[in-house]
Symmetry: C2
Subunit: 412 residues, 2 copies
């Protein structure tokens, strides 16, 4: 089965927004094992939209149109579908009533133009849009499927998953489900992780394995096809166990887990409070830890000692240690110790370094962590510009904090 | 003149990458005042690429193809152009020699497949690619222009600006240059800024005016067309003066200016040092100020007092003030005063608030700034989730800091 996506919107042609919708839909279609040969983008122009839809219907079995179904005068996807299929426009009293009630609940007056969203090509079905006022449209025409979805990504994603993909699956006779599990790792690069799993990668067809790198974290995605979700999960489970056993302490979470949330939960479970002492990262480690709602239960505070004399006055790093070098493991360890005392925390993360571009050794960053059980430092040498060096240091610091909280730590 | 962009690559159809190239090219075409009616995306398939090119030639005056000109077997844009235009493939001994010399300079052996990049449709011109090995292609066919560019964005951008747009301009008879000036503002929303400039917006055709919102900052873009850059700048200057006079202290910079760099420069020029005292923003204001290389000349440090007792012990906020409310203007002012003393800085920015989602009043944030001249606070009530509230608070804090450094301050 061939699926073609048409994105509607003059703003796309003008380059005012990047079209993320077609990539999202393309990925979902590929996940189903279906084919895509072309994508089209067209402006808010009736004749051209009609041409685009006719062209797509001539070469694909299903056409998904995004955009142009809102309430304003330039939203003419409904009209273009009528023109391309030779159908009349109908009006849904039921949907009009639902729109009026929605506005009444918001205690707002409904602009009359909103009623355009109750229009639909003869024979089409309206797909309810819980996140917006424009319903999607589903139509079968000459044995082919036509869908119109909102251009707003969160609304589009919802209607795609809930209404469009199930209909396409049914039409394509796909009675299998697809289940994915993501195993999140930190500590080695993509090629090193892939190498450790290469025999599993080769031998495992269902589930299949894929690698994704983002922000220094490497994700291993296992995707299984089966008749039911339970069967797919049963296929995934043994491979997941093998992958996790191989990767050991590189693994920090699964699916939607974030390292920040895991850290807060780890600290809470041990009854430990956390603080940071930062120089080159300027407060960004603390900023990341406090991005989690409820972090105040374990995170107490931070001392950002950017100026060297503040490392002495606020973190009690002694003169001799500082004199031997501000960007050294002893200084980082002393900062962590000082933070434990001054912030009154059980666990302190300290960072000192040269973020660049100037300085003695740009990209040299030292992270130290002190807990009630141990204290260790690690020196990082990072490539890239100032922003990249700082971002990677923050990611390294939070992942090293995880190893300290679990007691796994790291070698010298 | 109508220009159509064709993006080539199966990875685009599969949604593995988001197509930023078409948005980039679309913006440049629109800047020239030329029209775009359609964009197409097609996989690495000869017959479908030929169809896409023929379709585009049937309705546009210039066709820009991105992708598919590398050295590998699935790079078949050159073949597709030959097929769509009925031209033979030629081979450039000159380019082959240049490729060989390039590899010799790198002291690497050239894979023979690289010579495919010396092929070109009969009559085409090779466009040198300083950032890669694949040259672009420019061809005039039946009075229409066809270009093939690399899919790698930095290579594409360079060839687009240096070779494609000049040829399109010449063909379209555009002998004018386009100059833009961006005026950056903070403090009012897009509609309020637009309203203040509405008569200028209506009356000024050259330069034209556009509004762009990003991260709480509103940009006013003036774009002038003229015979020379100097003439275009002369057209912009009086309108820019009017816009800046109207917007007054809302304006913080121009073109590539960033608020962080402006702040560091402002503080340096006054000989003032800066520090922060943060609660709900957890160090992110300090993180933003230290994103500028060289910020250590004026930024000394920060105390992130997330726990209430640290506001007392590290920032010397007294019990009575805290008792009356942690998220209040008096507490924020006391934090700023405490930070001035404990960090030994001239200027301190303090933030306290409820970032949400729980807490008494999620979205209520207080910023206070103390300088050697004055100290004031401002209470913000921000919509959105925790991340958005924190991001907007950081942006507000740095912009309020600018008003404090310039001595403009703000009303109660």
């Amino acid at each position: 089965m061939i699926v073609e996506v048409i994105a509607v919107g003059t703003e796309l042609l003008l380059g005012q927004i990047v079209n993320t919708n077609v990539a999202h839909i393309g990925g979902r279609i590929a996940d189903l094992g279906l084919d895509a040969h072309y994508q089209q983008t067209v402006g808010d122009n009736l004749a051209r939209m009609e041409t685009a839809i006719r062209t797509a219907l001539g070469r694909a079995d299903a056409v998904i149109i995004t955009g142009g179904i809102g309430p304003t005068q330039d939203d003419i996807t409904r009209e273009a579908i009528c023109a391309a299929t030779g159908r009349k426009m109908e009006f849904s009293d039921e949907y009009a009533q639902a729109l009026r009630e929605r506005y009444a609940r918001w205690a707002r007056e409904m602009p009359e133009s909103n009623l355009r969203q109750a229009e639909y090509p003869e024979g089409a079905e309206l797909l309810p849009n819980p996140k917006g006022t424009a319903p999607g449209i589903a139509l079968e025409h000459d044995g082919k499927l036509i869908f119109a979805l909102p251009g707003v990504p969160p609304e589009m994603h919802l209607l795609l998953d809930d209404h469009v993909l199930p209909r396409i699956r049914a039409k394509a006779g796909i009675d299998e489900v697809l289940v994915s599990r993501v195993i999140k790792t930190w500590g080695k690069g993509e090629s090193a992780v892939a190498e450790q799993l290469s025999d599993l990668f080769d031998s495992s067809v269902n589930p299949s394995m894929a690698f994704l790198a983002s922000n220094g974290e490497i994700k291993v995605r296992l995707t299984a096809k089966a008749g039911t979700v339970a069967e797919a999960e049963a296929l995934i489970a043994p491979v997941q166990r093998q992958v996790e056993a191989r990767l050991g302490s590189l693994v920090f979470g699964r699916d939607d887990d974030t390292i920040e949330a895991i850290l807060i939960e780890l600290a809470r479970s041990k009854g430990w409070t956390i603080g940071t002492a930062e120089s080159a990262t300027g407060g960004l480690v603390a900023g990341r830890l406090t991005s989690v709602a409820g972090s105040s239960e374990v995170f107490r505070g931070s001392i950002v000692a950017y100026a060297t004399d503040l490392k002495r006055s606020l973190l009690a790093v002694d003169e001799a240690t500082l004199g031997a070098g501000v960007v050294t493991e002893p200084t980082a360890l002393a900062m962590a110790m000082g933070a434990r005392e001054r912030l009154g925390v059980d666990v302190a993360v300290a960072v000192t370094g040269f973020a660049g571009p100037s300085g003695d050794e740009p990209g040299t960053m030292v992270v130290a962590i002190a807990t009630p059980e141990d204290a260790r430092a690690r020196t990082l040498r990072l490539p890239g510009d100032r922003e990249r060096v700082r971002t990677y240091t923050v990611t390294s610091a939070v992942h090293l904090l995880r190893l300290a909280l679990t007691g796994e730590w790291w070698g010298a």
